[in-house]
């Protein structure tokens, strides 16, 4: 497959990138590592008029302490991020999430910014133009191309539904939300900072609250006392998550004082699970079980990724239980096959 032709701008600074983006209009597209954008262009999901490469923007490549947080630039590569020793124990969720994206080759090019802005995905949408023509396209790209999509088309995942159900399959977003990260967006007009959770919308077609003229500059990541990330995928490499469970807790003795649990890949956005029921008491088996029940109810997997949706829902329960037991300090050897899979595949 060959890409159609486009104009190319290699931005030299954050300001230059923001200017080019504002000038480029709706058919301009930012390029981080390009690991998602380039295949999507070949499949004609996007036919951009202008590509703005962020590769040479030095400001985006920084990773440094910022107050009590870590400030991680949008241009930091996932492979480098997962291996960076400035990430402490409290950042385990992020280290793990970044370390299990795709494959080593892809992590060597993929950026954090691209991962957080990753387009929602769907088995009806991540296909070639010819394939999509065979199903008469879908709501996300009714005339074949998603960028500047006109309205119309059917969502084949739930025909009759007025919305698009494409799935948020970024690994890092749930992990960073669980850690309480905030994100800073920059445009030619200025910049704004918001909790990372607020970057996402429950909408397969307009999945970000980012304005078209804004680019993601960095995230600020506080450390939690303990955090983890469990990823479900069929194979030990390459595959996007079909379920991600990110969890972070603060403990006073064995009593939970703060907790954040976020589910990935079971909706069009990362799903933040309310954790009130966990607070003020130890992570006992009953509390974990009841919480896992709640989380499972919030998970809304549909038939548009790998694996059957009912089974993904079932594993949500097992994963939430497993992740919380891991945070409680249970011996991983007792957590069963699925847990060993996490441990075996994830760099420490």
């Amino acid at each position: 497959m060959r890409a159609p032709s486009f104009r190319w701008h290699a931005a030299t600074s954050l300001a230059d990138a923001a200017r080019a983006l504002a000038a480029g209009g709706p058919r301009a597209l930012l390029l981080g590592g390009g690991t998602d954008v380039v295949p999507a262009i070949k499949r004609r999901q996007y036919v951009p008029e202008l590509l703005i490469s962020l590769r040479q923007v030095a400001e985006l490549g920084r990773l440094e302490p910022h107050g009590a947080s870590l400030r991680i630039g949008a241009g930091v590569r996932l492979g480098a991020l997962a291996a960076d020793d400035r990430l402490g124990v409290g950042h385990t969720a992020l280290r793990r999430a970044a370390g299990v994206v795709a494959s080593p080759h892809i992590r060597n090019v993929a950026t954090l910014g691209g991962n957080l802005c990753l387009d929602t995905r769907c088995n009806y949408y991540n296909q070639s133009l010819e394939w999509r023509r065979a199903v008469d396209y879908c709501m996300k790209a009714p005339a074949g191309v998603a960028l500047a999509a006109p309205a119309g088309g059917t969502c084949w995942v739930a025909p009759g539904s007025p919305r698009c159900w494409a799935v948020s399959q970024t690994d890092c977003a749930p992990a960073l939300i669980a850690l309480g990260a905030s994100v800073t967006l920059v445009s030619a007009e200025g910049q704004r900072t918001l909790p990372l959770a607020d970057l996402y919308r429950d909408d397969g077609m307009t999945w970000l609250t980012r304005r078209p003229d804004e680019l993601l500059a960095w995230v600020d990541v506080p450390a939690a006392a303990r955090s983890t990330y469990w990823k479900l995928r069929r194979r030990g490499s390459f595959d996007f998550p079909v379920l991600g469970v990110a969890a972070a807790v603060e403990l006073a003795g064995d009593v939970v004082t703060a907790a954040r649990v976020v589910l990935g890949a079971v909706a069009s956005h990362p799903v933040v699970v309310p954790t009130e029921s966990l607070l003020g008491r130890p992570l006992g088996d009953d509390a974990i079980a009841a919480f896992a029940e709640l989380a499972t109810r919030l998970a809304k997997p549909l038939d548009n990724t790998d694996y059957q949706l009912g089974w993904r829902k079932r594993v949500t329960r097992a994963y939430v239980v497993g992740a919380l037991r891991e945070l409680r300090g249970d011996d991983p050897a007792l957590l069963g096959v699925l847990a060993r899979r996490q441990a075996a595949l994830i760099p420490a």
Partner: protein, 818 residues
């Protein structure tokens, strides 16, 4: 022996690991044009026309071709010449080629394809074999035997019903084996060019240059003698490059029309549309046993979902029954099989061709029999293995059989007897066995010619060149050729230049399929090398004044066995021979022995020899989520003799890997949109990312035992290893899952979802299994009745009707299987 039997570097290895091997996609020629195809976006439609004007006028476009340019049908089997290079009046699946654009660049060709405007009238979509049974009209092909059933076959060897009526136990199970695809890393590519004198050369990633040669001659209406096919080294084939393909014929036609070289490289998605992969098969297997589980009779029904065209499908259908008999003694056997046409990419031969599906059924059912009768499944198998040098109920001639030793090896290695049935819940062991052909006894078109030929050229440089039509598809056939010739002539395999896969330069070899190359090319190579050795020996004997019998060939010398310092270097020996005999060249050829099966259809299954394999697999299963990990594999393979043990191990372990993919995750899944809203039927995920195939992460430790029991039919005793070791893997996984959590997944792939479903069934007090609950009514015709050898049979059918005369076919194009 100096070379054979020792693990050594393959002759083609260095070029491959250093990136120097030139695959079809690496070739470019001056003034080369590029081709892209327009493929149907509808699963089934009448083609009312293609408006080509805009595409033809687009920048860089040199030629636009449609069905009208390729009116002659072709197909790999003489009985199903149902393909055209570009669609005629009908498209039959999403991906069926309709038109072609030839342009100065790939981009220009692709852009112009978008400008082609085909006009279609949609027809009813037929999604699978059950749908085909229920929907006899519209027919996909008017030549189908009935409705949308392409072909039905049936045989009965002895009175099966009588055996069932009196048997102490009858086991009756239904299975479903999902389709999957070959997934070679190299995508198909072809380059065609016309020489100065008007002859055509086609370079292609094909496993069967000889069959492609024939198809090109037919479809282009050109003398075969004016066509040269060069099979470039294949980056994997596994059966997926064994048919003549649309794109090959289109670029050849385009090169002839433009006078310029024309190239095409398929995208991964297009490779999924070429397919010819594993047929999805519904099966019902009934087995009658005595009190201890010894088989008295077997009754097998299979229904294959063939996809949109014939391909090798008729042979595949026969293969779902033919090899059930060569593993265990089956005194009476009935087999009925049918293949349906559906609106999907055509199925064909994938590693194991037609046999993994019934093998899965048989080996899983044997496990059920063992459990039901309280027997150890290893013993149950050992007690009823076929006898060496015997005839089976369906007249397959079994030679050596090392299966008992394979079973012993894996049982011991895995401590199966001590551990099976005794591991804690969630862990389990499973065993399964299999057998496979070492080459089909018959070619795909009827003839009595050699199946493989080898030609050697030796000259005064001491150089030896081996020519053969065989095709290197990564399996190591070039190395087998060099190794055997080197062994006979006492030189090093790296001294030999191997010229293969070229229809102009080498004698015919039928191709790299049916595990035939090592045995057939190997025997031809031994004959050619033996003759060369005789020529050299007679000359050296005269020069040294010694009897020929006293000469040895080793370490690049020809010498006196009794006084080894006396002798000539190999190069001097060749000079002596050329001086004495003139220009040196020898040939060897091979044709398999005639089959004992003399009934119609008995042509599929006979082979000069059969290989055997046994595997034990250990799994861990999460009883809550059904998550399944394969933790260890032990596999024994009866290889006859390992010509190069390093290559043999590679094939065994590669088969294990591919088998695990089929067992655990691979599936050619299709999506039928809600029929009320759409006729669409699409491959669910024609991509390397979403068509799930294992990575190195999923490959468990694998212990391989090579069992050597040289078979007199094989070259130096060698049997096949390319396909057989795949076969026991899928049933061994299924059996291990049962041992781990007590549920049966009577389907492939065996996924966590299915395990959970079976566990839920069990929790509700229902049978602890998932899988089909019955077998559809196919409307079987009367089977051919053939008495088994031990019931006085002579290999002929009692109720065979004389063959219908086929005036439209010339004699040499007769149907095979007979």
């Amino acid at each position: 022996m100096n070379i054979i039997g020792k693990p050594r570097r393959r002759v083609d290895g260095r070029a491959k690991v250093t990136g120097q091997t030139r695959f079809a996609d690496d070739l470019t020629l001056p003034r080369m044009l590029w081709c892209r195809l327009l493929r149907s976006h509808l699963p089934h439609a009448r083609v009312d026309g293609v408006d080509t004007a805009a595409a033809a006028a687009a920048r860089g476009v040199k030629l636009v071709l449609t069905g009208a340019d390729f009116p002659i049908p072709y197909g790999i089997l003489p009985v199903s010449q149902d393909e055209h290079a570009l669609a005629q009046e009908r498209v039959r699946f999403v991906g069926d080629p309709v038109a072609a654009v030839i342009a100065t660049s790939e981009e220009a060709a692709q852009a112009a394809v978008q400008l082609l405007a085909p006009r279609y009238t949609p027809l009813t979509t037929i999604s699978d074999a059950h749908d085909a049974l229920a929907t006899p009209a519209p027919q996909l092909h008017t030549y189908a035997e009935v409705g949308n059933l392409h072909k039905r076959v049936g045989f009965e060897f002895g009175d099966v019903d009588a055996s069932f009526a009196s048997a102490p136990h009858v086991f009756d199970d239904s299975f479903f084996y999902q389709g999957n695809t070959h997934l070679p890393i190299e995508q198909h590519a072809t380059l065609a060019a016309v020489d100065g004198d008007g002859k055509l050369t086609v370079w292609s990633s094909t496993q069967t240059p000889h069959y492609l040669h024939r198809a090109l001659a037919k479809a282009l209406a050109m003398p075969a003698a004016h066509i040269r096919v060069i099979a470039t080294p294949n980056g994997g084939g596994f059966g997926g490059k064994s048919d003549p393909f649309h794109h090959e014929i289109v670029v050849a036609g385009a090169a002839l029309r433009t006078g310029r070289p024309v190239k095409i490289c398929l995208s991964r998605e297009e490779v999924f549309y070429c397919h010819r992969g594993r047929h999805p098969v519904d099966m019902r297997l009934r087995t009658a046993t005595d009190a201890c589980g010894k088989i008295l009779a077997m009754d097998l029904e299979t229904l294959l979902d063939g996809g949109a065209y014939g391909s090798y499908g008729v042979a595949s259908t026969f293969y779902t029954g033919a090899l059930q008999t060569v593993t265990y003694e089956i005194p009476r056997y009935r087999f009925r099989g049918a293949r349906a046409f559906t609106n999907k990419p055509p199925c064909g031969p994938k590693r194991g061709h037609g046999t993994p599906q019934p093998r899965f059924a048989q080996e899983v059912q044997l496990d059920k029999i063992a459990v039901a009768l309280g027997r150890n499944p290893a013993d149950l198998r050992l007690e009823q293995l076929c006898k060496p040098n015997s005839l089976t109920a369906n007249y397959m001639r079994v030679g050596t059989i090392g299966l008992g030793r394979c079973i012993d090896a894996v049982v011991e290695g895995s401590r199966f007897r001590e551990r099976w049935g005794k591991l804690p819940r969630g862990r389990g062991l499973g065993i399964a066995c299999s057998s496979y052909l070492c080459g089909a006894g018959l070619p795909i078109y009827w003839n009595k010619l050699p199946h493989s030929g080898v030609q050697l050229k030796l000259d005064r440089s001491g150089g030896v060149t081996a020519f053969c039509g065989a095709t290197e598809i990564g399996q190591g056939s070039d190395d087998v050729l060099a190794g055997l010739v080197a062994e006979v002539l006492g030189i090093d395999p790296f001294d030999i230049r191997v010229v293969t896969g070229d229809t102009d330069l080498g004698p015919v070899d039928l191709g790299s399929y049916s595990s035939r190359v090592t045995l057939m090319m190997g025997n031809a190579a031994l004959e050619a090398a033996g003759r060369a050795r005789e020529l050299i020996a007679s000359a050296v004997a005269a020069e040294l004044q010694l009897p020929v019998a006293r000469l040895g060939f080793a370490e690049r010398r020809v010498f006196d066995l009794e006084e080894p310092t006396r002798g000539l270097s190999f190069a001097d020996a060749v000079i002596a021979a050329e001086t004495r005999h003139g220009t040196l060249g020898t040939v060897g050829s091979y044709r398999p022995p005639d089959s004992a099966a003399r009934y119609k259809g008995g042509g599929v299954g006979p082979s000069p020899a059969y290989s055997y394999s046994a595997a034990v697999i250990e799994v861990e299963v999460c009883p809550d989520t059904g998550w399944l990990d394969v933790t260890q594999v032990w596999i024994g393979h009866d290889i006859g003799r390992s010509l190069n043990p390093a290559s043999v191990r590679g094939q065994v372990e590669g088969s294990v890997y591919m088998g695990l993919g089929e067992a655990l995750m691979e599936e050619s899944a299709f999506r039928r949109l809600p029929p009320k809203r759409s006729d669409a039927l699409v491959h669910k995920f024609p991509s390397l990312l979403e068509y799930k195939s294992p990575t190195t992460r999923e490959m468990p430790p694998c212990t391989t035992y090579l069992i050597e029991d040289p078979d007199p039919q094989g070259p130096l005793g060698a049997k096949e290893v390319g396909q057989g070791p795949l076969l026991p893997i899928m049933p061994a996984v299924a059996n291990a899952v049962f041992d781990a959590v007590g549920v049966r997944v009577d389907e492939v792939p065996i996924t966590p979802e299915k395990i959970v479903r079976a566990l839920e069934e069990a929790a509700r007090g229902r049978p602890a299994r998932v899988g089909p609950t019955g077998f559809p009514d196919v409307g079987w015709p009367e089977p051919l009745r053939v008495a088994p050898p031990w019931e006085g049979g002579d290999g002929k059918a009692a109720n065979e009707t004389p063959r219908r005369p086929r005036p439209d076919k010339d004699a040499k194009d007769k149907q095979v299987p007979r």
